[in-house]
Symmetry: C2
Subunit: 324 residues, 2 copies
Amino acid sequence: MSSKFTVSDYREGLLRGNVALLSRAITLIESTRREDKEKAAELIDSILPYSGQSVRVGITGVPGVGKSTFIEAFGMHLLRQQKKLAVLAIDPSSSISKGSILGDKTRMEQLSVQKNAFIRPSASSGSLGGVTYKTYETILLCEAAGFDTILVETVGVGQSETEVSHICDFFLLLMLAGAGDELQGIKRGIMELADGVVITKADGSNSEKAKAARSEYARALHFLPGTASGWMPEVLTCSAYEGTGIEAVADLIGKYCRHQESNGFFREKRVQQNVQAFQRLLQEELRNRLLSRPGFREKVRETEAAIAGGRISPYTALQQLLDA
Amino acid sequence: MSSKFTVSDYREGLLRGNVALLSRAITLIESTRREDKEKAAELIDSILPYSGQSVRVGITGVPGVGKSTFIEAFGMHLLRQQKKLAVLAIDPSSSISKGSILGDKTRMEQLSVQKNAFIRPSASSGSLGGVTYKTYETILLCEAAGFDTILVETVGVGQSETEVSHICDFFLLLMLAGAGDELQGIKRGIMELADGVVITKADGSNSEKAKAARSEYARALHFLPGTASGWMPEVLTCSAYEGTGIEAVADLIGKYCRHQESNGFFREKRVQQNVQAFQRLLQEELRNRLLSRPGFREKVRETEAAIAGGRISPYTALQQLLDA
């Protein structure tokens, strides 16, 4: 039971880099039990001053792009650079019985047995926003425990890509070579979130195709507006299988961090993320309070159906709901 | 005073296409007075069944791209096609004293005196979301009055571009030729909202540059993921000054409408927009109720400052706020 440890126990264990206690601490913050929630909040506040010293990289891509293979190769490279690496995931479809996208550690066999690597499956259950927030708190715990590089994997469908951009410094998009079908799996808006794009599986007979795709995407990105910070996203190719292009990805992220630190944007982005996280939590709380009133959930559903049917205007619908 | 007309007066006037009453009706819905708000809501509900039969086109671009000149030329073309045209605007910086981006009708001299054209400045004051919602209601009133094409102009900075995409069927982005500086004025995410892009000022010595830009943007858009509906955005050039390329823009919008009607997406998009408008109104109402409690606005500001300073986690900040 996680409850036998006090907040002090967790905190001291984390600060000493005790990975077993880190695991238990994450289990604590994922718990939905009331007494665990209070303890978890206390723990997060106590380690907050010790968090923040890592680079947080979100990694997304459609199923089949080779995320696990990439993360394994990339992770091993980072470890060789003396990094302490945590690999997390946002997978709202995860459940305790089904296992998450990182539930099966044999997907990253080599990485999972490395001393300085910590791999944790996605939090399960709850809303997508809830899972994202718990992942954010997990990042804080990992940082307090001394991990300096955090990878957050997400599946490239649904809304989870946007979510991961709320808690990461660098957004890495993995893509397959070739336009057409492969692009259909990616939602609009994701390309513009990316700080870096990597065309995977650039080996063998796919080499030329990957090079051509890289060139075209680089050109396309050049014609998209620049980012608010002035950072120009780059497009790379890699082959996790052959081990090529992996170092270039690490170099790109390093270049990004130096760029964003010199213009103050690195810190500014985290500040914005935290304030927006608070605003989202507030919004969700207010909404939950309304929906928890007897019959309200049904009323909202009926109201939305009436709006969808063109029978009532959004404003009038709101007035009717509030009168109830 | 708008209050001397009853809801019936407004409604009957609108359905008869009375433009003077349309203007007064819009003034009524923009009013912040309580009795006006009730009347306005009643009016909107009464004409709701008569709304919807238009194509709503949002037009955005950075200052200097030639929006007014384009809208004048495009508007005159639509009138020659026997359309009944309303030209609206979203400009949250507008105020009764400053005048909005459409305040000075001499910007569209020719159009403003046409019988079948109705030009209205942006609603002023209130939040951006509030201005957007009033613009949506204005669209409904214009449609009830028989206007079959609605153009909603917005300035391409701030958040208003995203807002206009919430109330329009087709999102038209005007751009200048040449990468570099011109692109810096456009925020990321806007290119991916566009259903069509027009490179303006494609005349004289700028012709070749415009053609080259068109080709590059078309290529870049091709490498962005497709839209949810399967529509592939197109890039055109035009010269409002020479009158070239204007018809092609109208044809593109027509093509879009036929495409979206055949796959059901035209209606589906409007349904989603209406439901989301309701959700946003609900969210804003809940937030306003919280902030209107004595001292809460200040408390939220302090809380956000503490989060920004890294002194407190978003979750704990929320708990503290709710305890108060």
